[in-house]
């Protein structure tokens, strides 16, 4: 029973394609600010039937349509619940994994549509951090861009929390990798 519930508390942050001697150093998602905005919106949507029910309660009772209203409200709750967790799923599955060997960018573009890119630490040439605007400064999130020697597209960590700390950690890993 203990091992069944341990998946909710203990984790080595293992992922698909992990190598035997690979350790996850950082697991980064977009700053919670963005998903909180979505959750607030869906919470407001969730309460719409309650608000309408209170406003039109007399009419519903007089016309005898309260059972229809309850059914439609329950369907609305179901729809809102599904949309909320669809949004949460997309947020949780967009993840950057920094291991002792490479950086992996896993992006979910809807159901059954996933893009996974990886970049070995040895190929990283330089990194830059951009924290732009009042909200990003206040909540300490921004973009971290990683450039290789080639003409390839930069590896981008978008809207991540504490990007400066993430940059320092990755630089430390690169230094360690280059020493070996």
């Amino acid at each position: 029973m203990k091992s069944l519930f341990s998946i909710f508390f203990d984790t080595k942050n293992s992922f698909e394609g992990e190598e035997d001697d690979e350790r996850v150093i950082l697991l980064i998602r977009r700053h919670p600010f963005f998903i909180i905005l979505h959750l607030i919106f869906f919470t407001i949507l969730f309460f719409v039937p309650i608000f309408l029910g209170l406003m039109f309660s007399n009419f519903l009772i007089v016309s005898g349509l309260s059972d229809v209203f309850f059914l439609l409200s329950s369907l609305w709750f179901i729809l809102t619940w599904l949309l909320t967790f669809y949004s949460l799923t997309m947020y949780l599955l967009d993840v950057w994994i920094v291991t002792n060997k490479r950086i992996i960018d896993s992006t979910q573009h809807g159901f059954f549509n996933r893009k996974v890119s990886e970049l070995h630490l040895k190929r990283i040439q330089d990194m830059s951090v951009e924290i732009k605007g009042v909200i990003q400064t206040l909540f300490t999130f921004g973009d971290l861009r990683v450039q290789t020697a080639g003409t390839e597209e930069k590896f981008k960590f978008l809207q991540i929390p504490f990007p400066l700390e993430a940059k320092d950690k990755i630089m430390g890993l690169i230094t360690k990798e280059n020493h070996f």
Partner: protein
């Protein structure tokens, strides 16, 4: 006999099967993605909360559907329309 075929019954029967099927399919897909592709404990916790909510809301929906008086549904909407007309006419 064909002209007396109860289309509202067929419509209700199709909805009663189609809507729960789509609902559980969508729910399964969300849980599958969270458990299979989620890294760390957060996706698993979210999947557990989602599953709990799915079961509760589905039960609530079934109860509301069972309590619905489908036989008098059309007449109640007609009465509502007539009452609204009477109110407008009286004005």
């Amino acid at each position: 006999m064909f002209m007396n075929f109860d289309f509202s019954y067929i419509f209700t029967a199709i909805l009663s099967v189609l809507v729960p099927f789509l609902y559980w399919l969508f729910s399964f897909v969300i849980i599958y993605h969270l458990v299979r592709f989620g890294v760390g404990t957060k996706p698993k916790r979210v999947a557990a909360v989602f599953l709990l909510g799915v079961v509760i809301l589905f039960t609530l929906n079934i109860l509301c559907f069972v309590n619905l008086d489908r036989d008098s549904l059309v007449s109640r909407f007609e009465n509502m329309g007539n009452n609204s007309f009477n109110i407008l006419y009286e004005r």
